[in-house]
Subunit: 360 residues, 5 copies
């Protein structure tokens, strides 16, 4: 997870002029793939492998919603070219390429809404979270989506829906598309949250059944860090959707508001669940410590009781092991047995005393 902690690789960019395009993410070898999707209620066109030259601002009055789905943000020249053709502010392009940028929304003069957020995948091999940097740029009847070219296209389900039928996505403008893409990402957060929930149920059972060990604590600690990371990723979305909901841009149509409200609601539920988990983890840690402490106490108690019983007896034995010439008891016939009896009485007395005080 340590690679996600530094949002911005300072040394790569220190001293350069603001707005300079620098890719700071992981090394990638594939080429950027660009899909162009045009649709309206009646028809749709999808062009895979679109050339840069055909990426242009839609002509005013075009009957289509234009969606440019860019898969790969590691080639500055590509991002820069798209930026030029769509007249995007250089700071937008900087944020598109800066994989360390945290989620945020920026409005540029009512002509462009720029949203950047994080896609989270659960990586089964490494038992870690995969993070993908996603940027969405909404303009007049067009939307440009940028994603790191990591796995498959994460917006596939939306493309499928556009192909499938002339449903809500097809009937609405680009602002609904913005909502739909964000919804896909937020739905993945639910998945991640649920996985963590299952892991925590496991851990809880483990701990409550007293099978926990030092390893359990490490897992709890790791989970806590993971929760904090997800929270930092999800929390800013609250503000992002808040800005959209307050209709600060005319690009957002009134009819899309109920859907955005629903999205805001989902984000809140995720945050709330994350917070509940965090509290639960603290609780589990406390229970774990209490169990460990309790076990240690019972070990120490039992063993100390053993000492407390035998040490006085050994002392008595020691007395009659002394080699004084004149020790009258030693020469009586029953002295040995009386001493054994005395030892027994003392031992039994101690046990009774300890039991009464609730120490055994």
């Amino acid at each position: 997870m340590s690679k996600h902690r530094h949002y911005r690789s300072a040394e790569k960019t220190l001293g350069t002029s603001p707005g300079t395009l620098t890719y700071v993410g992981q090394e990638i070898e594939h080429q950027t793939e660009i899909k162009k999707i045009e649709y309206n209620e009646r028809e749709y066109h999808i062009k895979d492998g679109t050339k840069l030259s055909s990426c242009t601002l839609p002509i005013p009055g075009t009957p289509y919603v234009n969606w440019l789905d860019v898969d790969g943000i590691h080639e500055p020249q590509v991002v820069s070219a798209i930026g030029q053709q769509y007249h995007l502010h250089p700071l937008i392009l900087e944020d598109v390429m800066n994989t360390e940028q945290k989620p945020k929304i920026d409005l540029y003069d009512d002509t462009v809404v720029f949203v950047t957020l994080k896609m989270l995948h659960h990586n089964r091999q490494q038992q870690e979270l995969d993070v993908e940097h996603v940027s969405l740029i909404l303009g007049q009847h067009y939307l440009i989506s940028f994603q790191e070219e990591r796995t498959k296209d994460i917006f596939e389900p939306v493309i499928e829906r556009i192909k499938a039928s002339s449903g809500k996505t097809r009937r609405n403008d680009a602002d609904y598309l913005l909502y739909a893409l964000m919804d896909v990402i937020v739905d993945h957060y639910f998945l991640i949250t649920e996985r963590i929930g299952e892991k925590m149920d496991e851990l809880e059972e483990h701990i409550v059944n007293q099978q926990a060990n030092q390893q359990t604590l490490a897992t709890l600690y790791k989970l806590k860090r993971e929760l904090a990371f997800i929270r930092r990723t999800v929390y800013p979305l609250r503000d992002v959707v808040g800005v959209l909901l307050r209709e600060e841009s005319t690009l957002i149509k009134h009819a899309t508001l109920p859907y955005l409200r629903d999205l805001a609601d989902h984000i809140n539920q995720i945050i709330e669940t994350l917070d509940a988990y965090r509290e639960l983890i603290s609780g589990l840690m406390d229970v774990y410590y209490s169990i460990v402490n309790n076990r240690m106490n019972s070990v120490m108690k039992t063993l100390t009781i053993v000492s407390a019983i035998f040490i006085p007896l050994t002392f008595i034995a020691g007395i009659y092991g002394m080699n004084f010439d004149n020790m009258p008891e030693l020469h009586t016939r029953t002295g040995y047995f009386w001493v054994l009896l005395a030892m027994l009485v003392i031992a039994v007395g101690e046990v009774i005393y300890f039991k009464r005080r609730g120490w055994m």
Copy 2:
């Protein structure tokens, strides 16, 4: 309780278009029961087992308040049909069926107020909380209530009041009915809170009388989780009533405001009580830990004192148990008794010293 933790079963709904109806709650076999209640100050009609076809928007100018009491939300076709006949937004229907939806309020263009909240029952058999998902839809002179078909109709007391006399409920419009139904649910929260209060009094007595054990701690932990769950259920209601109180919808009449204010007041009292309980539980845990620690300390102290007294004595005995040929003391007549005396003096001295320092 673990089933209540995930508010939304992500895998069931991932990738579907928003607004798709999916029931995510527990499996239910009964059929949905629909009651239609029409009333005004002079008369009332209650129809059990109403057919779907007779569920329609009341004709403008109808002299009755129309209440559709739907018992069961597991049949998508039923919910969908009601939605169509009352012209409800698809997102409302999604939330009606989504038992994982947390409490919230949504206003749809001043024609519909949509409230969703949770009914809490105390399940005596399993010593657990039962949660029922309830949705209330307020429109012009009508109200639709949806509840999970779990136990009996939770709104029975309100129906009884409508039958009983032409009181406040009968004299007022559907917004008062909305208040009355929410009030029934909030009253149940008081019951739940009181049960927890009694349990905590028990636990406190237990702990203060030093009868607590590891089990007590587990109960405190469970109670803490339960409190957190109830708080998460009750807390959003504050906002729900807040929205109603700010008269953001014209469906809420001015005369209903004092009652809503009273309701808000009750919700606040419940939240405050829950918070006081939570603090109390933390306090009790601290007291418990302190008692456990104290008991452990006194065990360890007593036992270590035993060792500290007898180990030096055993050492002395050990000296005179040595087999050196030339040990003059051994051959004196009173050596043995002097040694015994010395041991006694040492033991008594130690006891006095320990008592003086407050260790015994």
Copy 3:
């Protein structure tokens, strides 16, 4: 204190229509006593044992301020009759009788200001706080005060001031009277706070002088709960006075504002003091734990040192207690004394080592 924890006895009122009058406080046998006090700058009339029938809204234009001082809220018919004669909203009457109602203010259409708060007495016999439910209803030139009939009339000092001279109380309208009654109650909070302060000074001295024991901790815990309870009682008054200060009702005259500001100031000082005490208690608990831990440590350390010194010595004695035939040392003339010397050297060496390391 446990009786104060549940603000509303849910089972007594569950399912009843809102506004139904139910007394939920302690059983009381005395009859309700009603005093009627009429005054202006020139004269005053006080009627003890006023009959219900003479409790009426003052005629518009009356030259007196009318104060109805009702001592006892356990008789629903009395409260209900007063309510009818003064045209009070049923929810007001419900709150007057509901001793579990927390402090609040309600404005009814600029004709009535309803304030409910708690009188706190320190009960010397039981070393507990006595809580009395007080309601104040301010209308046009009249004020009705309700109090639980527990001890003597808590508003006696104000009545005395009215009798004594034509001072500020006599010169002003009913809103000043409202202020004066609230001031009496807040002054009592100062008394309570001071008592707690003294108790804490005692406890602190106890703890710092290391005379604390398990009992001290219990007292601290009880004090902490008491503080939390008082805070919950005082805190809502901040809002109550805030509403009055914002002149949300025309019943509050401008000239009364400085006095209300003074009252708000006193309330803030009490809350601040309570918070400072709470922090102090946490600090004292930490000090207590630290002292207990320290004492335990020094016990364990001393005793373990005893063991560490004598166990090796005992081992040496054990060696020369063995019965091997061929143990040359045993048969030397000075062996015994050399061994004793060795033991002494080891013991002294250990002591020096422990002292050097700061363990003794």
Copy 4:
């Protein structure tokens, strides 16, 4: 410090009418001293020992700023006389004499600004904080300052500045004087804060060098309480200056605002420093506990290792100390030496094992 904790001596004032003048501070024997200072850009007059009769509201149109510097607030008749001659509200006079009053600001109808605050001195003899109650009353071209007659006049530096030159103080109106007096007091807070900072540096060095003992903890605890007390004294000043900055009174001129902003800035820096210190103290306490715990651990560990090594050896010696007739080993020639060797091997083995596991 305990005398500063109760802001208001409740029993002295309980039941009296609000606005009654009662002095609740420490007994004082000196007489109240009144200085009258009149100044403008060209000239100044200072009259020591001014008589009460000459304390009057400046005549409208007077060319001087009038400053009445009252040293002593323990004589109700003096305060009351000044109040009458300057037409001050009775609540102002009550607060002037109430040494338990916490810092606050009150505006009276745009004719009077009333500020009360605390002067803090560091008392070297008793190593305690001395607190002096100061009140400042700003009116049209006049300012009245009240201070407890404890030490010397705390406003001496300002008087010196007025005498010295016709600088900023002389060129400005009474509102700048108000600022100047508050600035003197706030500058003293910096001194106090710095002293605490030095003490904390000392303590930190002490603790980090492991020279801390139980006394250190007590000092930390005392320091924490002192910080909390200072914070409670300084914090309300934020609001006081805030009210002045928002120009809620016309008595504050626009040109004074930069100075007030500077003052607000200083207050914020003090509060921030206090908060940083508080956090530091918590950190130091944690470090202290960790060191104590660590030391205890190393003591216990070392001593327990001693036991663990010698107890098995003593057991072996015990075996060959038994007096059975038939113990073949005893009668071999080299048995004794083999046993000694075995003991050595065991001891060395244990030491190696402990070292390997990092216990020694």
Copy 5:
């Protein structure tokens, strides 16, 4: 770090009139260096070692942006002279020289924006943070920057950019220059934050691999203090940029807002990262304590088990070491071997019991 804790050396300035220039920072021997940079889109002039006399307000209508880069703030007469020639408020000059001043922004009547902030360097020699006090004064077409003359000119990169090309800096007015200088400083914060991040990764690995010792804790504690210090330095910048973003001064052009928004975003990311680190440190401390505790527990447990096994055996040996005449077992032929067998059985039994209970 202790030198950075007291923001203002109170004793140096106590009692002086506000606005008096006093340098409170470290002693410096070099002379103040002044650079004057004039530039516009077409050309630029840079004059090193500018004389005080040529530092004047730019003539209205000048075609250049004027930047006065002052390196050194320890000479009151220099700062004062610049202040006079640019007509700066005395409080600005006081803050320029007061190295203890925390970051803030002040607007003076729409003609001057005054920003003060801190440059942080990482000092490799002393492993400490170096702090440099920086002030920026923005006026109509001019900007004055003051920095402590410590290392090299921290604004070198911006000068280089001005020299290099007629880029964004050259095309824009002085407000963009203000942004550019602040951006340089904030970029350094990223560097510092990253260094801390790396240190924490190291520490984490250390702790998780159980190589931590008392020294690790000290480092964590130091790191925590460093984080708190940086946070106190960075946090106020949020407000500074906030004031600029709200366009409270007309000196800030609309076109600069996106850049300031970007800056605000960076500041937020730094604060967020710092907060995440702080939480991480707390987590690491908990893990460390848990590991230490665990290790101590396992030491104590193992050693106590040794005692518990051998003490009873030693007791048995003690019995048969007694010298009673009549001890029949001693005289049997196989007694010795039976006793040895019994000891073995007891030891093995104890080991099995301890293993079963999970103690070994």
